[in-house]
């Protein structure tokens, strides 16, 4: 009763964007870290 799910490994979205020269534009436009930057100061120290 062991269920085996094969996994495939692919280049990350980051790698694909980098290889197509789109990573910088993507990061500028989508700002995936904006949330953490904006709210980091709301958390208690430590």
């Amino acid at each position: 009763a062991l269920i085996r799910v094969p996994l495939r490994k692919v280049p990350t979205i980051r790698s694909q964007l980098r290889s197509e020269g789109l990573l910088q534009d993507f990061l500028v436009e989508n700002r995936p870290d904006m949330f953490s930057r904006r709210y980091a100061q709301c958390f208690p120290a430590g």
């Binding site: 799910v5 995936p32 870290d33």
Partner: protein, 339 residues
């Protein structure tokens, strides 16, 4: 900051820019196939909806509820807030097939609005979370809990084998209901889960080249198959980058000179449950081809992830490709063995 997953009650951010491993599932009657990231760092199942009209949903397969005779409309909505937008969706229930096993009445989310265009590049369509129910946003059982509730598995265990090689055989495997001893060397070192949301454990210490012990009094870490690197608090990670001679890029990554690989500290040790887990420079440096140029990236990344138990480290694929990981919901523990 890539790979960030920050949980704050109703607010969460998901970022799968660095996810590497995915597998297939099917939903509905007749079956509709999807590729999903099996992610121990979240607990929900979601796929794009046929009603999703944003650019981000242009390519992936989308779930057509109206074509499934077994679909049950739920009516609840969900939202995930990002800094620059938000993901919206609706909840439903349907049959879920995983490697020939049918899970009945599985709650899942159909996203109807996704910001950004990251998923256009993704080879996967959605995410299947394998974390604890406390991490789920849906009321109802996460997939693995449903499997247990419906007595579909012999043991309340799942395990991951992740190969580092592309086009290897197999590239990776998720085993539901147990482990395969052919994929790892005994013994298994078991660590108790310290907080039942993520698969959170205690790290005794991190040692780089025998000096500069990080978190010498122990720190908390989550074992996350949806993250590619090893992440930790900014101060500690910057020290580690300095020790290995990595320099920052404009994109928040740290790059090293591939020609100097042989000069890097050969070993980094994570001490877990009193046992040393070693990564060699070949294992903690990630290589990537850009045209005919080889880039070498540090496998460490600064992510300040706060929890009530203190800053969290994340043991992602860089670690999990070297060590077979076993997740035991019966005894709330995580096991590691040499892959």
């Amino acid at each position: 900051t890539p790979s960030l997953r920050l949980g704050r009650s109703s607010e969460k951010i998901y970022n799968f820019m660095d996810a590497q491993y995915y597998g297939d599932i099917a939903l509905g009657t007749p079956e509709q196939n999807f590729s999903v990231v099996f992610d121990t760092g979240s607990s929900d199942l979601w796929v794009p909806s046929a009603y999703c009209v944003t650019e981000a949903c242009a390519l992936p397969k989308r779930f057509k509820a109206f074509k499934s005779t077994s679909f049950l409309h739920d009516g609840r909505q969900f939202g995930i807030n990002y800094g620059s937008g938000h993901l919206l969706g609706v909840m439903g229930r349907d049959y879920l097939m995983v490697a020939g096993m049918m899970v009945k009445r599985q709650e899942f989310r159909e996203s109807v609005y996704e910001p950004g265009t990251a998923f256009l590049k993704a080879r996967f369509d959605g995410v299947l979370g394998l974390g604890y129910p406390a991490l789920a946003e849906i009321l109802g059982n996460p997939v693995f809990d449903n499997m247990l509730a419906q007595n579909l598995l012999d043991k309340p265990i799942f395990s991951f084998y992740l190969s580092r090689k592309l086009n290897g055989s197999p590239e990776g495997e998720l085993l539901l209901g147990g482990t395969d001893e052919r994929l790892y060397d005994l013994p298994i070192n078991w660590l108790p889960v310290t907080a039942k949301a993520y698969w959170q454990i205690k790290i005794d210490s991190v040692v780089v080249q025998g000096v500069n012990p990080f978190c010498p009094h122990g720190c908390q870490a989550i074992v996350d198959t949806g993250t590619s690197l090893i992440t930790g608090p900014t101060d500690d990670i910057l020290d580690i980058q300095q020790l290995i001679g990595a320099t920052p890029t404009n994109f928040g990554e740290f790059i090293v000179d591939c020609a100097r690989l042989s000069n890097f500290p050969q070993h980094q040790h994570f001490v877990l449950g009193g046992k040393e887990y070693t990564l060699t420079s070949d294992q903690y440096i990630r290589k990537e081809m850009l045209g005919d140029r080889k880039l070498c990236f540090s496998g460490f990344q600064a992510v300040d992830m706060i929890s009530s138990e203190g800053p969290l480290w994340i043991l992602g694929d860089v670690f999990l490709t070297q060590y077979y990981s076993i997740f035991d919901r019966g005894q709330d523990r995580v096991g590691f063995a040499i892959a």
